[in-house]
């Protein structure tokens, strides 16, 4: 909105040149009418216009709740108007200088304002959602009812002759009748819908023994809604003059809760099943892949041994590449097999001195340690013998071999790896052992920490560091299946630390 048509033309030309569609009007009143359509992303208003000035336009627009962001254009030395415009709800202002430099500012102002606008809208939406969910939550609280009821039972304990003396609204007994005086009793026959075995037995037990029974689960069919309602009840004796003449109960309707619990149970069963299927699949696939792979390796070897002379240099290069890929594939299949084999069911538990699997892992890595030019130090906090834990020995060797192997592999160029392994009792948790593997390697960015243990995740390019992307995933699985935890800390170029916490004793039924 700009009354000076020359300025308006300059303005639109500049914006059209960089790809915006522009529409101009000569005064505020006309502009406001356009506003209603809501088809503009951003509106510029001149401060001084005939009929209706810019400030007035902003005032009306924000009073009517128009969401489109507005930017004020003012003359030089008119900052006060600009401030007022901002107070009224303008997003920004631009001062029109005489030589038209302000036109250069337009693109960045537009970008900024639109960005701001998007953020505000998002916030608004988020708030809206929050409010909705709060209302839903409040709805749940308010619809959870406790029902109270009193039942008189005859001395013989005949439940079919029990009489409902009082009960709260909503339990199916007409309210005016349930409100009868407790002392007199309304002599209403026991409601037939309520013949739920659990509750009946609990009531009779309370009646006979005088003890309180909690958490009695029962269900009934609500005929009006044709739906099953579930209850959890607390049952107390009902006494008069010291003698137990019936029972009283507090029943909470738990239909929603039960439904939610049921859903969770079904989901977790399904998840367990599909996980088992997946593991089985991975096992079978990798197992069956080994056979053809072995053949490929064998024949590659035969060709390179016996026909090397027949091949020219290009042929030999191709063959070398095939061999290399095959070796990589064999490693992958091996790791995949390992990964799918680790699980509670396949564990072979025994008491092991943690020093042993560590020593065994180091001896397996001997060549690599020597090649890297680095060293591995195993440290003990005290002179006590290393802690003994209940675990699968082979899986422990694999765990330490992978962790130390990783520490050796991811060293910085030119810096020989130094790996420190410490084993001690966990100071924070009784009955747990803490193992730390620290290195001085390339480390990693903390923001990737959640991905580091996932199968096939690689933080570093394959071309630089060989590997299958399964090493840490296997470690994670081994630790989890032993009921422990593993964590990683690191900083780029400052090394990484892996902390493994394992229980000294395995639970009777380990996690699947």
């Amino acid at each position: 909105m700009e009354d000076d048509s020359g300025a308006a033309r300059l303005f639109s030309k500049r914006l059209q040149k960089i790809g915006y569609a522009v529409e101009t009007v000569g005064n505020g009143k006309e502009g406001l009418e356009k506003f209603v359509s809501g088809e503009f992303d951003i509106v510029f208003v001149d401060a001084v216009m005939p009929i209706m000035g810019g400030v007035e336009v902003i005032r009306v627009a924000s009073a009517r709740g128009y969401a489109t962001p507005i930017v004020m254009l003012t003359g030089t030395g008119d900052e006060r108007t600009a401030v007022e415009a901002i107070k009224l709800g303008a997003r920004d202002y631009i001062i029109k200088d005489v030589d038209g430099c302000y036109l250069d500012l337009l693109p960045s102002v537009i970008e900024k304002v639109l960005q701001q606008h998007r953020l505000t809208e998002e916030n608004k939406r988020a708030l809206e959602e929050l409010r909705e969910s709060e209302e839903r939550f409040r709805g749940i609280i308010e619809t959870t009812h406790d029902y109270y009821w009193v039942l008189r039972i005859d001395a013989a304990g005949d439940f079919s002759k029990a009489v409902m003396l009082a009960c709260s609204k909503g339990l199916g007994v007409p309210p005016d009748e349930s409100m009868e005086n407790l002392e007199v009793g309304c002599a209403r026959p026991y409601h037939p819908d309520w013949s739920w075995k659990n509750l009946e037995e609990a009531c009779l037990k309370v009646f006979a023994t005088g003890e309180v029974i909690s958490n009695v689960q029962s269900a009934r069919l609500d005929l009006s809604k044709n739906a099953t309602e579930y209850f959890s009840s607390e049952i107390f004796p009902f006494k008069k003059g010291g003698a137990i003449i019936g029972v009283q109960g507090l029943s909470e309707e738990i239909t929603q809760r039960r439904k939610a619990e049921e859903k969770v149970r079904l989901y977790s069963e399904e998840l367990k099943r599909s996980n088992a299927d997946l593991e089985r699949f991975a096992f079978v696939a990798s197992h069956d892949l080994q056979e053809p792979l072995r053949k490929v390796v064998a024949f590659c070897d035969l060709i390179s041994n016996e026909y090397s002379s027949v091949l020219d240099e290009t042929g030999r290069d191709y063959l070398r590449r095939i061999s290399q890929s095959t070796v990589r594939m064999r490693d992958l299949v091996d790791d995949l097999l390992q990964y799918s084999r680790v699980g509670a069911r396949t564990k072979c538990l025994g008491q092991i001195d943690l020093g042993k699997p560590i020593a065994e892992a180091l001896s397996n890595l001997e060549v690599r340690i020597a090649q890297s030019g680095g060293k591995v130090v195993v440290e003990k906090e005290t002179d006590d013998p290393p802690p003994t834990i209940e675990a699968d020995r082979f899986q422990m060797v694999r765990l330490f071999q992978n962790l130390v192997g990783n520490a050796l592999k991811f060293h910085r160029t030119g810096v020989p790896p130094v790996v420190r392994v410490t084993v001690k009792k966990d100071g924070e948790r009784e009955g747990f052992v803490k193992i730390k593997i620290e290195d001085n390697g390339i480390g990693f960015d903390e923001k990737y920490v959640s991905r580091i243990f996932a199968p096939f995740e690689r933080l570093n390019p394959k071309s630089q560091f060989e590997g299958t992307g399964l090493g840490l995933a296997i470690c994670h699985k081994i630790v989890r299946s032993h009921g422990g935890s593993i964590a990683a800390e690191g900083r780029p170029n400052e090394g990484a630390t892996f902390t493994v916490v394992l229980p000294e004793k395995q639970a009777e039924t380990g996690p699947a």
């Binding site: 406790d146 109270y148 009821w149 009960c167 607390e234 004796p237 006494k239 507090l250």
Partner: protein, 147 residues
């Protein structure tokens, strides 16, 4: 504002069902204070005067009492009389709960120094509402320290 310790609530009610109901509804009304329950008037007195099974244990302060009128051994009125006659317990606020509509009974309790008198309505929904209101009341009331 002076540092105030949370008020402990002593609930003297012989009917376990009612006692649980009151507790549950107080919790529903967002009362998170400790609630101690005793099942007859004598136990309430023992508790207040550190005798019998409560010998040697000083009752928590500040304290507020929800007292049922009809209780075995010692009834609510007797408990009230004993409390108001002793300097140690005279100032503890007492809310009487009863099913009685007898106005003379109500008057008598006020004469004895009960602070509030609440008729337990026979119908559960109104009772719930009444307990919720007690809860609301407890949450704003200022209770004096003992001594």
């Amino acid at each position: 504002m002076p540092d105030r310790r949370p008020v402990t609530i002593l609930l003297a009610e012989d009917d376990e069902g009612h006692s649980r109901l009151i507790e549950k509804n107080l919790r529903r009304a967002n009362i998170t204070n400790d609630i101690l329950k005793v099942s007859d008037g004598q136990k309430a007195i023992d508790f207040l005067f550190s005798q019998g099974e409560y010998a040697g244990r000083k009752f928590p302060s500040p304290l507020l009492i929800l007292l049922d009128l009809n209780m075995p051994v010692l009834d609510g009125r007797q408990v009230l009389e004993r409390m108001k006659a002793d300097d140690r317990t005279r100032r503890i606020p007492v809310i009487i709960l009863t099913t009685t509509e007898d106005t003379r009974e109500v008057q008598k309790c006020y004469d004895l120094g009960c602070n509030i008198f609440i008729t337990k309505p026979v119908d559960y929904d109104r009772f719930t509402e009444a307990v919720r209101k007690i809860g609301l009341f407890i949450s704003i009331v200022q209770v004096p320290d003992a001594g």
